[in-house]
Symmetry: C2
Subunit: 463 residues, 2 copies
């Protein structure tokens, strides 16, 4: 955040504290609606009421679509019906739909009844698409012309509808049944001879997305093909709306956050609120599930330790390297699974690549295991005697170091393989790899680490 911006936000916050309506109004006019929405969301209840009053309907309607879902209804409740009518009527339709998706059913019907008939119908149609589908995210306010038009007719047609058009980054050409034929750029109209037929300047549009498709699919397509707009169609290729690149950016950021959170065992939907504004209860609910499950699963490692009581108590020095061998598995498995999950998310890896991934990670696991085995092995041979730790009669430090090294190498090798293949296996049985991988891998490699360590110790040191 630039210093200038930080400063003007600070001044606004101060003006809000001193309840100076005029100053607040003046300062807020200078702020971008995204900053204004953040300021509002970070305020307390009193300050919010004050801000609504100070900003007035005109300024306030800009920030509504930027508010976290939990704030929408209580904010709208503060306006009277004529203000609500103006606010909801003047919003771009994708913003209006976003807002209506965040309020209760009763309120939604009530708000819809405030709109004029046509807007009401369009909005109801959009509301039928799921919130996370391409249809739920699209805007219907884009440039649409017919193939039989001339450049002049197209310009006149677009001009008459300019007020309600959100984007003209691409203008789509449809046939009489609204089926998508192609697209043109506004520059093809602006800089062309007026009697040129649209048919002559249009280029076919190859990439479209179904309204029922997941919003992530739409965003990925837009990103992959460097598009500024992605047309949304129905099964008969009828053009319903467009996804804009700022929607795509928002979707991609949400999905990244979700993936990151899932891999840390955080469940549920990403909060629309900021971290600080999310309630303790909601934080708790998202984190408690996996914590309890993982705690019970981790007792499995405890059972392995119980099983090898004799080995450990006989050579207690084994405990010096036990946590390390277990942790090394978690770390190397975590690296491998992170790489594979991200590659799958970016569309680089498919199920058929499992064999190639296995081969790659087998080699990597071998070399990484070897590196760790040698470095820690040397440490295990020379450090413990120097620190005056003792081994029972009949076991020497070289044997001990080799035991640690072999166990560590095997643990890294197997963990790397497990880490890489488990996400692919999860995908194969249609489980989201990001949800399952990290917790499952940690549990599995913790147990396998214990088993490997004690088994190797048991056989080499012939206990």
């Amino acid at each position: 955040m630039s210093e200038v911006l930080a400063e003007s936000i600070d001044r606004t916050v101060e003006a809000v504290h001193s309840r100076d309506v005029h100053l607040v109004n003046e300062l807020c006019k200078e702020l971008h609606y995204a900053d204004l929405a953040k300021l509002y969301a970070n305020s307390n209840e009193d300050e919010r009421s004050f801000l609504i009053e100070a900003l007035g309907v005109d300024l306030f309607k800009e920030i509504l679509a930027e508010l976290p879902g939990t704030l929408v209804e209580i904010t709208l409740d503060q306006f009277d019906r004529s203000d609500l009518k103006e606010i909801l009527g003047s919003l771009p339709d994708d913003d209006r739909v976003d807002i209506l998706q965040d309020v209760s059913d009763t309120k939604r019907q009530d708000y819809l009844s405030l709109l004029d008939k046509e807007t009401q119908e369009d909005t109801r149609t959009l509301l039928r698409y799921g919130e996370e589908t391409a249809g739920g995210r699209m805007t219907t306010q884009f440039g649409k012309i017919r193939a039989y038009m001339s450049v002049k007719q197209a310009i006149d047609h677009l001009r008459s509808d300019l007020e309600s058009t959100e984007t003209l980054a691409r203008i789509y050409v449809v046939d009489d049944d609204d089926r998508l034929i192609g697209k043109i750029r506004l520059r093809d109209l602006a800089f062309n001879v007026w009697n040129t037929p649209i048919r002559d300047v249009l280029i076919p549009e190859e990439n479209t997305v179904l309204a029922s498709a997941d919003q992530e699919e739409a965003a990925n397509m837009l990103a992959k093909y460097d598009m500024v707009l992605l047309p949304v169609v129905d099964e008969s290729n009828r053009l319903l709306g467009v996804i804009t690149s700022d929607d795509a950016i928002e979707i991609l950021e949400e999905e990244s956050t979700e993936d990151i959170e899932k891999s840390a065992g955080i469940a549920g939907e990403q909060s629309e609120e900021t971290y600080l504004n999310t309630s303790i209860r909601s934080h708790f609910r998202r984190r408690c599930g996996w914590l309890v499950v993982l705690a019970f699963l981790a007792i499995l490692s405890g059972f392995v330790m119980m099983r090898f009581e004799n080995t450990l108590t006989e050579i207690y020095l084994l405990s010096l390297f036990l946590p390390m061998v277990v942790a090394a598995g978690g770390n190397s498995g975590g690296q491998a699974s992170t790489m594979v999950i991200r590659a799958m998310a970016l569309g680089e890896l498919n199920l058929e690549d499992a064999r190639r991934v296995a081969l790659k990670e087998l080699q990597l696991g071998f070399f990484l295991g070897l590196l760790l085995a040698v470095s820690i092995g040397i440490f295990a041979i020379f450090a413990p005697p120097a620190l005056q730790f003792e081994l029972p009669r009949g076991v020497n430090f070289t044997q001990f170091g080799i035991t640690v090294a072999i166990a560590l190498g095997l643990q890294v090798l197997t963990s790397t393989l497990i880490g890489a293949l488990l996400p692919i296996a999860a995908r194969a049985v249609k489980i989201d790899p990001a949800v399952i991988a990290a917790p499952a891998i940690t549990t599995i490699v913790d147990v396998s680490g214990m088993v490997i360590y004690f088994t190797v110790a048991h056989s080499i040191l012939s206990l």
Copy 2:
């Protein structure tokens, strides 16, 4: 990936295998350059040479900018100088710069000498900006007009330069010294009266980025303010170029990947290659560093285990819950740090919020710790006797269960706090939280878990 696309890619791959130049050329014409680039990058050396030949200069120059950096030079080497001249001369300047950044110094000078004087100079200027700065990512081929023009003059001016203009999503208005005054939309030209002065239709541009700024700053700004283009300026507000939204999407995806990889202890730059095409050596190099460091750090936990030898051997049943207490700390600390790091990356948290974060996580840690303590505590009281595990004389299972519960609760509470505050502390001393947090937290909470567990056991069970 749609089935139609997958099928046409499969057919192309087959045609490449059978070296059918005509069929390959025909099929490739139907593919988007992004898919074509992927196909090329996934081919072996022979197939690549064949593809270059089959595609020809015209088709091939489309995909050059999409290739991973490591493939650029060896690919360009296959063209003769007149082809190179055509390819490099016809690329948009940001793509040309991207490509030249990926080749050796000698080659770069050689390629530059192929360009006409003006292009050469422009390209050299752009090459001076770092690869990861706004200047290094911007394009200079955008619409630029002067405030004294009329709508008609502006249209004529833009039309004369249309060929080399990459985007007209926004047209920027500058003064005689090229200083940015404002912007207009193309629609303001296309649908306006021809003698309207530009001065009357322009709106001021409030958000700009310095050419020397980090590319991430530019991308975040574009995302936050829902912009389609972000103007890049120098210290005197002279307009140098623009960042497009597809560049922003690419930057944001790279940064997300990097953050995800860093938090798994994967070092170094994200590979431009796909996972499968990245060499074992490069994978190894990125993963080995943290693995070795973390392995040595994990020995600290081993020292704690050595220190409490008496406690553990006297009540060996403690080992049943030891791995669980340690792991619960890693899990809860990992959740907290993930939340905080992501909130910082999204600009929701600043250093001044540390106290509020601490307060929040203290409460969360308390409730999460309580939940785990109660569930596992009950298990620890009733399960071990049912499984016929034994405790030494003078210790009963209720005491034992309470011990486990208290240690677990304390471990979750402290780990949650550590997990939340360590990333903020890292940021305060200007260390990237994503790099340091996960490994450091794991090490710290592993050690603290051991200490807490054994100390609690030692005092409660009065050993």
